[in-house]
Amino acid sequence: MTLPTRFQQWFSERGWHIHPHQQEMIDRAADPALLLIAPTGGGKTLAGFLPSLIELADGMHEGLHTLYISPLKALAADIRRNLTTPVTAMQLPIRIEDRTGDTSATRKKAQRADPPHILLTTPESLALLTSYEDAPRLFSTLSRVVIDEIHALAENKRGDQLMLAMSRVQAMAPGLRRVGLSATVEDPPAIARYLARHPDPCRIVMADPGPDPDISILRVEEPPPWAGAGGSHAIPAVLEQIRRHKTTLIFHNTRAQAEIFFHNLWLANEDDLPIGIHHGSLSREQRERVERAMVAGELRAIVCTSSLDLGIDWGDVDLVIQIGAPKQVKRLVQRIGRANHRYNAPSKALLVPANRFEVVECEAALQAVRERDLDGEPRGPGPLDVLCQHIAIRAASGPFTATGLFAEVRTVGAYAGLTRAAFDDCLDFVATGGYALRAYDRWQRLIERDGVWSLRDPRAARRIRMNIGTIMDTDMLKVRLKSRGTGQPLGDIEEGFATTLMPGDTFLFGGKVVRFETLKEMTVEVTRQGNKEPRIATYIGMKIATSIQLSQRILRMFAQPDWPSLPAHTRDWLHLQRSRSRLPEADRILVETFPHDGRHHTCIYGFAGRNAMQTLGLLITRRMELSGLHPTGFVASDYAILVFSLEPVTDPAPLFDSAGLRDGFDTWLGGNAVMKRTFKYSATIAGLIDRNVAGPRRTGRQATFSADILYDTLMKYDPDHLLLRITRQEAQRGLVDFQRIEGMLERTAGRIDHVTLDRVTPLAAPMFLERGYVPVEGAATERLLADAAQRLMDAAGLDLDPATEGRLFRMAGPDATGAVRNAP
């Protein structure tokens, strides 16, 4: 296909030349699947849309032609604006609309009746579209689908849901061509397999990656602290950089860190530079205000999190600052790409290590970027909880045969190896619950008649539609300013954090200090607190684990005789560690034991990433408990755990016996809160737990009960149930990340170096400052509860009625059962 004259003119009027990769996308427009890998600012979106615009230019196409899917609602709206420019300029007869969770119901209805030529949407909205009975009519005219930021979708369940929906769409539009647009990734063929209909081939088009980024570590006079993640020591140097640049993006790894940094930055901002904050917990209104100000060029800096990772065009960003170790090289590269949205201009980025260890980590990441050595873990086969939801969505759209749906699902790359048995398990779960005890068969959700499956009660379709999606926001509570009427919404915080707040506690939100007043149903009410120092400085955020590749790079650095590229303070620290103890090695586990402050300490360097190290801590302390070493608790970081115990560890080797650890994973860890959370996620996706209920939300929550009860019940009576199997599988990664413990055990094959010392070692010292002390569970919880109850009773004692009745009796006599048995 050549570029029509109208398009050539449009390019030349702007003084543009078509990029080679844009031309290649046009030349190969007939391919069933095409993956374009291009840096930010490489005209990627236009490359994806040019073939559609050309095909639609003659105005002959009736109905939907191109579906555009992006992971962000905001991106869909942004692209609509950007596409409208050439369409208007060339006077093309093309209608473009977006459809997301923010689109009104009336508008959505109109779109189904009279679809635009190009529809811009999200994976969830697409899945919803496929659930309607009239879906075949809508999709029959579809010719192309463009999936933007496909690298971001390919790494999570949203992406799995998207490709399952695509298999459905492809069945309704057999000639459909798929196009994926991706940032630089470590394994393009894996993304290509993810994109294409299995086993279709998929051509990978590589755009010129552009010049190497200009990236370095920010020089700060004050050395970074020994522990912590805030980067507040670098505030003056960061302010200086903001002054010197037009617009700076300041990335943080967690929302909490972004809040604290923004707060401190603001306190030090004597020039009153316009600086904003942007993260996923803030309300849409707040985020949009910042986005508008940014596009209008009114802001000199934005403190942000991954909410700005994806490719919305923010205009003139000329510097990216990453506070804290980037944890993943790939992530760092994609963030750097946010600076200088102009093709062929190098992106400029500065790294700010937030503590001494991160100096090493940032240096390792820097080397990796220079060597273009990106990291990432291959994803396993398609998750079954998402498949369960897909089967339900399929049922909502009308009757289906198991054989037909199975064949369709196997055209999805991630599910190409799905066995019929696994598929039937999922189908049985959706239909009957899939329990070992076959109960209430009369009420099963799907029924089979003559080989055709359908909903028992067609009204159930509504419930299925209301619960589409794989993003877990069920744990979030709304935050509002307390007022007479409906208070101003500020955003969301995690329920887990909200429930630990007591009235009067203060925390940072949206860059302001707020005071917790009450928790009313699903809403946290707060008041503004002026400039008061926040008492609780942080709230729980997503913890990203350092990638395996980056950890390995750090271990390789440790093997060097000297570190001339590191600042003196860090270099001396590593030398001191080497002379006092030794530095951890890649194929060995280093265990240091030493007394400190009257207790025994064991520091284990496993370099398996934060989540895996935390799980290792749970398993190791369990084994220590069984051996009578009386562990009291531990802290975990990306590279080590530090265990506190009453007795010393004299022989660490048996603690790492892999069969024992695996057994602990299978049995004991089953009762852990992290496993329960993992279960809750999968059970919600699979449709056992509703995230949305029809009608107004019940006041109070008497009617609903926690997912933990379902988990405990299944563990007790149906331990082989599909959802428990899925939970154990999920625990191999994610929050539990047992897979990386296995990897560590394999890599080190029992080579354990035990160093006994009389005091804390240089490398272990920062561990004492780590947050997130995990007490060894069990007796501890009851003791804490008893303390808290005593304290509260004492405090309330004066208010209680002095009469004996209604007051608590503290009996020194027999225990509960004794008292009961002796009763008359």
Partner: protein, 228 residues
């Protein structure tokens, strides 16, 4: 150590499971069993929950009964999740219930979900009075010596950066509200206005679980407005 508490001159004990034991009258009290809840949800086109809830609730009841050997059992209403739930019980589950009601004097108090449980043995009543105590499903505003259920109270405590949430019993001089006993029951936060209204001058909560920790009910600003 289960200290128990004095109520209208009687010493009562909250068992770890959430049942209330009144040794003075050899009476064991359960609130809100909600037997058949999973079946009802499935019947109404909701989620198909693990069908082990009736068995689990019965197993816990049987254990509490074996421990206390009561002369009388009172179920404070919402014993069955709805009228049709009886039909949903499996024959063996219904038989287990009948075995109990045959052996022990048994009163089913009517609840808002199950006006008159029948076919399971035992007696039915809207309310029952024994000595100084009155048993009914929903608390009445000006009652005294009243033991009720219905609200499924749940306490939440912040402990050093994490929170523990457990079903709990609430009481003051005039009334006791029991936690829900059924395996598939949720809870209503103890600070909910409707609960605060029932304890206008404050009260005490006792947590279920291994140790019956007693904690004052937190005061909220609207505690004086009752609306039940």
């Amino acid at each position: 150590m289960n200290p128990g508490f004095l109520f209208q001159g009687e010493r009562l004990f909250l068992l770890p499971s959430g049942a209330l034991w009144w040794p003075g009258a050899a009476t064991l009290i359960f609130a809100d069993l909600h037997l058949g809840k999973a079946e009802r949800m499935a019947r109404r086109g909701g989620a198909v929950l693990p069908p082990y809830e009736v068995h689990d609730t019965l197993r816990r009841m049987e254990a509490d009964i074996a421990l206390t050997a009561p002369r009388l059992v009172i179920c404070l209403g919402d014993s069955l999740d709805d009228d049709a739930a009886i039909a949903g019980l499996s024959p063996s589950e219904a038989q287990r219930l009948r075995d109990l009601t045959l052996r022990i004097d048994w009163i089913w108090i009517a609840g808002n979900h199950d006006p008159a449980p029948s076919g399971l043995g035992g007696r039915s009543a809207d309310a029952a009075s024994i000595g100084p105590l009155t048993f009914r499903h929903i608390a009445t505003p000006d009652a005294s010596g009243e033991v009720s259920g219905h609200y499924h109270p749940k306490a939440r405590l912040a402990l050093r950066g994490r929170s523990v949430s457990r079903p709990c019993l609430l009481h003051d001089r005039d009334r006791v509200i029991l936690p829900a006993y059924g395996t598939y029951t949720g809870g209503l936060d103890w600070t909910a206005p409707v609960l605060a209204g029932l304890f206008p001058t404050g009260g005490c909560a006792i947590l279920t679980g291994p140790t019956p920790h007693a904690v004052p009910i937190p005061c909220t600003s609207r505690s004086r407005r009752a609306s039940a």
